[in-house]
């Protein structure tokens, strides 16, 4: 049995972007469903704790998330959690059909006149020697372990936080607030106080937040290593030690000054975010590549949230990394336009939407300034051994990818066909950045290398659920 729904507007993702879009669409008179794979609405920014006694149970981020979900529900939005969209397709009448899996077991098929994708972001993983060892996790994964659950890191031993970008400081702040010791903080870039001051002078509202981050980084007690990089994670069956080295003038680690940190249980590593584009890419919307926006993102008109595909809107990080406030603003804009389009009404009142667009431009401006302070590392900053795994799902090594490139593979897709890198359960979400870096090393720009075109199912889904949802889509159940 497949559950079926008919709505005016479907929203994928219940983070700040999706919740704002869903609410705005419902307030615009549309029947709206909002879907998220997590057990609680909120996305990354409004991540909800699982334990009521958690130190994070009453933070502004948590409470405002609960408010946003409540406001959406009171506007009439049906929020379905533990619901993962594994396929989307256009219908003959110009609408959309979504196939989802609920609680890992039940099929759900949804018809929507218009669709807002607010699928958010993920970390941009960069391989380094030893990165597949258990105990090496994403910086966001460490944050989730601290904010949900009991608020402690489960693995005994020192914690090291490494990578680059403002989010690293946010995670250090989470360590401080959780009262969890952080042994080392390793940031690839050196502080740039003058540029930081210039940016904050233009966005004074961010000043308190910035000082709070600096204060909590100190409060975390971590030994701070700016201009350093993790060169290696070591251990047999699990992480035991980490090596770090200072970055020299050429941007590469200085092998003569490697320092070893012993007794490490957790290495949390983050090199910035990339948009989660599987849904928008599956629908064939135009995507662009901009390192300041996290690389490949769905191109939208900022005034409406409309993508290149009629009836398809995108909001939040999927339309370019910018953080929670652009997500919220772009969500409101996209939601009200998606509702108007679905109901065949004129575009929403310019007097309401125009100020939002102006606010969005300002918020995006700050995000751009921040991205300029922490330019993403374009290439693999480390020399990897030929047998280092680039594609974790299929155990494809650097040597295999290089052989494919030497044989003439010039696109991400060709590397996948040659080597299987990107064919596994993650569909290239994890290895994509590394493959693009390898192709660039061989002279192919990321714009030309492209990205893996997603295929059915976007996320591994039990076969009976896939069959049931697709049968319902064709109207045969």
């Amino acid at each position: 049995m497949t559950a079926r729904l008919h709505v005016d507007v479907a929203v994928i993702g219940a983070g700040p972007g999706g919740l704002a879009a869903a609410r705005a669409a419902a307030e615009g008179g549309a029947r709206v469903v909002c879907l998220d794979l997590f057990a609680a609405a909120g996305g990354q920014y409004h991540m909800q704790p699982t334990q009521p006694e958690s130190r994070f149970a009453q933070t502004p981020q948590v409470l405002s998330g609960r408010d946003a979900a409540r406001a959406a529900r009171s506007a009439g939005v049906e929020i379905l959690t533990r619901t993962e969209v594994f396929w989307v397709a256009g219908t003959e009448d110009g609408g959309y059909c979504l196939s989802a899996c609920q609680a890992g077991a039940e099929a759900l098929s949804i018809r929507a006149t218009t669709l807002v994708v607010a699928s958010g972001a993920m970390e941009r993983p960069l391989p380094f020697p030893g990165w597949t060892l258990p105990g090496v996790i994403g910086a966001g994964a460490a944050q989730r372990l601290l904010k949900t659950g009991t608020g402690a890191l489960p693995v005994p031993g020192k914690a090291v936080l490494a990578g680059s970008g403002p989010f690293l400081m946010a995670v250090a702040q989470t360590f401080a607030k959780a009262g969890q010791p952080l042994a080392h903080f390793v940031e690839y870039r050196r502080p740039n106080p003058r540029a930081t001051a210039r940016l904050l002078a233009r966005h004074l509202r961010k000043l308190a937040e910035a000082f709070g981050l600096l204060r909590d980084l100190r409060r975390s007690g971590a030994e701070r290593h700016f201009g350093h990089i993790v060169t290696r994670a070591l251990g047999k069956d699990r992480l035991e030690a980490v090596e770090i080295a200072p970055i020299d003038a050429s941007g590469r680690p200085d092998p003569a000054r490697v320092q070893r940190i012993e007794g490490v249980g957790t290495l949390a590593i983050g090199y910035g975010f990339q948009p989660v584009t599987d849904v928008t890419a599956a629908l064939g919307a135009d995507h662009g590549f901009d390192p300041a926006l996290g690389g490949w993102h769905c191109i939208v008109d900022p005034a409406t949230g409309a993508s290149s595909r009629p009836g398809l809107y995108a909001a939040g990080e999927v339309s370019g990394i910018g953080g929670a406030s652009p997500a919220r603003l772009s969500g409101r804009i996209a939601g009200s336009h998606a509702a108007a389009a679905a109901l065949g009404r004129a575009a929403p009142d310019a007097a309401i939407v125009a100020p939002l667009a102006a606010e969005l431009a300002a918020a995006r401006g700050f995000a751009r300034g921040l991205a300029a302070l922490y330019p993403p590392l374009p290439d693999l900053p480390l020399d990897l051994a030929p047998d280092e795994v680039l594609c974790r799902c299929e155990d494809v090594t650097l040597a295999e990818v290089r052989a494919a490139v030497a044989d003439g593979a010039r696109e991400t897709f060709a590397v996948k066909m040659w080597t299987r890198a990107g064919m596994g359960p993650c569909q290239g979400r994890i290895c994509g950045a590394a493959i693009a870096a390898e192709l660039r090393r061989a002279g192919t720009r990321p714009e030309a290398a492209g990205f893996n075109r997603p295929h059915l199912p976007l996320r591994p889904t039990p076969l009976p659920v896939v069959r049931a949802a697709l049968a319902a889509e064709r109207g045969s159940t």
Binding site: F38, P134, A141, R144, V155, E394, P462
Partner: protein, 89 residues
């Protein structure tokens, strides 16, 4: 954390107690950070992204494949890992 809210789960055949609603990644990593073997090399793997996108944290919950990072502990839940002690029994 509070004693009154602990529940019983069966982890790789072994009855264990933990806080109700504890994310399975916290439960599993407290035993050992790795609980899977990679497909070709058989190398140890554990959670990586923590947000449902990498599928490195796969386990079996009540007989169905599941991502440990998306699941929380419920009374009576049966969790099986690929490489944990008692796996395959």
């Amino acid at each position: 954390m509070s004693e009154d809210r602990t529940i019983g789960v069966i982890l790789d055949g072994v009855p264990s107690r933990c806080a109700e609603g504890l994310p399975l990644t916290s439960l599993l990593a407290a035993r050992a950070p790795g609980w899977r073997a990679s497909p070709r090399a058989g190398a140890p793997r554990g959670m990586f992204c923590g947000m449902g996108l990498c599928f490195e944290c796969m386990v079996e919950v009540d007989g169905r494949p599941a991502r440990a990072c998306l699941e929380t502990a419920r009374e009576g839940m049966k969790i099986r890992t690929a490489t944990g002690p008692g796996a395959g029994s």
